[in-house]
Symmetry: D2
Subunit: 348 residues, 4 copies
């Protein structure tokens, strides 16, 4: 960490900063310049917040040299993290497609949708059973009943299931059912939840918060990794800006920036990132062209009757068309869509 002092910092202020660096367990490297004094704080600095020095008298600015995240950083882990899901790998050359409805609404809805997205080329099934709704009066999800339907869909289609967790109190129940825990944008900095997930050994799909920086997303991943769980998938899902033509603004820059900073797999959610079914396919193509490792897409067999997110959900046939277009882009990138696992049971 480099602490740049103000041009008129006094020797006492400099001494005070040096004292603080030592108290923090770091070594000091002093450099008296013509315009300003720069004090290096050397050692295990990634665990020390810059604010520890920013408030000291005479300090102009504090600049990290090493990144504040360590386990998530490509600096210490240059090759991509690849980890297996049921039947395919994520983070490797193959692109992963996760699809399904926003909410599990009924047994028939999720079974029907699961078959449809599987046939269209999806590798994994998404579906919410605990729903973070802005209004307390909105549908809040089917809970365990929904998990049972999802488990049945997995058995029928062979696809692993991705389900959002909202609270560590749901962990024990969900552990019995889900393959991948999804952490939603509104919980990206629910640190208690992240810590609890770090104790599990199941994959976690971590969505970027509506106004979270890329660095903050990586710090939240670090919470999970620090618990020993290495299977974190990062997900760009649009950020909140002044533009109202779309629900969110897809930060497509985040894809190459994240691929540069971290070894973790990075996917994109074009459904939330746009909020309109009409724009999902174009942004899905863009994500793959930008280097994403996968997509998570909302698909509903009857969007007009979806209890949530109908406006941004694709009909299965439109999803199938999206897969075709995404496949063409993947091939232009020298990649492919992960193959569909052979069906397990098609008695439905």
């Amino acid at each position: 960490m480099m602490i740049i002092m103000k041009p008129n910092a006094t020797p006492e202020q400099i001494e005070h900063v040096i004292q603080h660096i030592k108290e923090a367990g770091l070594n000091v490297h002093l450099s008296q310049g013509v315009e300003a004094t720069v004090i290096g704080a050397v050692g295990e600095a990634h665990s020390i917040p810059t604010e520890r020095f920013e408030g000291l008298d005479g300090v102009e600015v504090v600049k990290r040299i090493t990144q504040p995240f360590k386990l998530a950083s490509r600096q210490f882990h240059p090759e991509n993290s690849i980890f297996p899901l049921d039947g395919f790998q994520i983070g490797a050359n193959e692109i992963v497609l996760i699809a399904g409805p926003c909410s599990v609404e009924s047994r028939s809805q999720i079974l029907e949708t699961a078959q449809a997205v599987r046939e269209a080329g999806a590798n994994a099934l998404r579906g919410g059973v605990f729903k973070p709704r802005t209004s307390p009066y909105s549908f809040q999800g089917l809970g365990e009943e929904g998990l049972e339907y999802l488990a049945e869909a997995r058995e029928e289609t062979g696809m692993p299931i991705v389900v959002e967790i909202m609270s560590q109190t749901q962990l024990d129940l969900m552990l019995k059912y889900v393959d991948v825990f999804q952490v939603g944008a509104r919980n990206m900095q629910n640190f208690n939840l992240l810590r609890a997930l770090g104790e599990t050994r199941k994959s976690v799909l971590l969505k970027r918060g509506l106004s979270a920086t890329i660095e903050e997303l990586l710090m939240s991943a670090e919470y999970i990794l620090a618990g020993g769980n290495k299977q974190v998938i990062l997900c760009e899902r649009g950020i909140r800006t002044f533009e109202t033509a779309t629900r969110n603004t897809t930060d497509i820059n985040a894809i190459p920036v994240l691929k540069n900073l971290t070894h973790l797999p990075v996917i994109l959610d074009p459904s939330h990132a746009t909020g309109h079914a009409d724009y999902v396919t174009a942004v899905a193509r863009a994500a793959i062209a930008a280097g994403a490792d996968g997509l998570i897409v909302e698909v509903h067999h009857d969007p007009a009757h979806a209890v949530s997110d109908g406006k941004q959900s694709l009909r299965p046939e439109k999803f199938a068309d999206m897969v075709k277009q995404v496949r063409a882009i993947a091939e232009a990138m020298g990649r492919s869509i992960a193959p569909i696992k052979k069906p397990v049971a098609v008695g439905w």
Copy 2:
């Protein structure tokens, strides 16, 4: 709710929307215009999300007439909500000052700060014992030990204590100690936590999320109110924008907008809203001039050694000066600072 159809909407699409309105338990009021058809959906519409209709074919836009929040709305509760804290009232003509350190760091620190802010004019004591830190490697709070120190500070000074809760798993422990639960910006949409707090009968200080709209803040308040807990205090603490000269951007507009929309008390946190001790006093004055019912301010007896938020913490003497300036503004507004409760025990 008014559903405005596209100019070229077909009769089938209109019929389809009408069907959906009826399925939602609402009544239909159809109005065929020259340019567009408008369909009113009349009834208990506040519990129905607009997205339920936005995705339907032929729909141009859906516009609420009634607000999506009801218990929080001034429409149904025109007079201010006033509720007592230990020794004073919030939401009334008197202005409430909550002050204290970001984190409880030690027994002596919190006792010393409590006495100092009390003497300077504070009405309540803040102090964090569970800390939402961006980095898993940062200090995470003293936990129950911190609660015990806070309880001791309350006993000595007579001030009620305001403490942040991060997870419903902390609820039982904290219920034994705290007077006001604080919900931090990162948890404003932790709906499980809000619901759990709605079940208690303790005051909740709800901070606006970094990128939450004013309407979303009120919807989160609605979660608590819907559980039967009427004691919700709203807190503007700065939003995230492109400006980097300050830690956040104080949305001062939010004060009169909230006072217009809701009967709940509204306070401001100038420490987080600016991020710099140098700007806290000016923004504290502005908040009161804009109509806020109180302030929550970070004060530390030795900011240079604070384990968190030192940069934005006032020294007690600077806080005392802030109180003087705020008092002058309050008087110009025809208000006053809530009186300091008589000391309980000054044996320290």
Copy 3:
């Protein structure tokens, strides 16, 4: 335009709004609902700002049915606008690549770069001679001298030249040299300049402002179109958000949204949209995958010595690599890169 009245609007307020609609030359279509009265204002409403009615007593909200832009709208012009530049077309199936330095710095620099980008596959040459610099102390451009070098580069390479105009006082001079006028982000709402360009019959490349909505971009295009100049190219170049990892945030959603709303060609500037040479290629690929009709890219033969934007400029060989990758994406989209015009003179 639909004017939705507040639930408690009085008959006098409704009558007042009706009067206003008539004064604006529009016809009235009244619809008395159960919850609210809706008043349609029918006629040439696109020329009337909604604010004309928003401030009236009793008005809840004013909603346009017809778009406020007309000449730019796909509603009235369903097929793509295609117009010829020197040797190729823009807006058609072929993708256009505009490349060159941020600033023209010297004769040799621009001639050398022009040859290099042309060989790499560029169709047009960009280069600034009047530079909008944040600081009055920064290099402000070579002025007419720069235009002469650009003209020489055009003669040598056969590529049309794209040059930024900052003020209508530069128009007469520039008309003698440039093929395409570029309007920079900071001048997107310099309405006097837009109007002046509307009087010309040269193509205009209109960049989106840093915080301009998509609708505002189209309204600015409307200023040029209203003058009779039909040759407007829209350019997404990143918007300003809270994210600081990149210079701007590429709003990739804007590509499909614009292609849906307007018939005008849409291109993307990955250099400004990211601010880092390392991320330009990934975002260039994403733009084409999202449906953009072209790219404008900063290329410098020696970025380390560029007087401006060196950090985001590609070296010619890196640009050539970008073209290869973009070509693969274009082909996956069923499109191609516009062919390079045969050289005119290679005596240099």
Copy 4:
């Protein structure tokens, strides 16, 4: 300027940076740290953009020590800039109130409004005659006719007039009429216009752009100051954020931040900053409490018939009430409202 090299920067890269610093006319101060090398670039660095070094290989980050603005900086001009307007001073202890309609619409409208705001306590009259309208189809202002009416209003009331200039082509005409040139938010980085105004010796009221940082506002002021015109008034008028409850978000932090960074007078425009007449007074009070030197407020004698900005315009009687409330806050701050000049001619 401090250039911090990446931890793994090579000696060649360091040498290359040193070479660049020397080419820029600066002196080098090298400091080889344990973690990183820091190179100081010492001298007239404020005129050199940081990007000149940011793109060089091996550079981690470039940090200015001296501010990029110089004439605007309080560092070199510690006492407040105070300059006289017709009959009162701006930047001194007295608070200045500028009021009037968005647009001059007719002779009677501006004369009537001028008298009304003067009686209510205004010190100067605003009114637009060239209007920057988003739509080419909206009213664009009365032009010179409007200037004549304004001149007549000045003669009658004795108030100086503040008028927006949109282009340097309007300068000669306007010089004959106006006392203060207003530069609107959309033109804050119209550098040609700023430069032209720097050549005049009339006061310039410079509004912050919708997405301009505080530093960029000061750099734009620097353009005017660099031309020798010392009379620049800075104006916060709300920035663009995700919040849609108000037209813009008032950045109240900007008031103390600007007062800290610069010696120039700082005022606030609560009309544009909120967009709603109902919120103007609260934000006007907040501005003065935060330390602003004045206000510019939209007042219309009949907002329902205003051709622009009716929604945010105060009726004269509401403005008079606002003045009363602002006066109380000013007095609490130890300041006063600048006195109204004795009437010159009241024959109207």
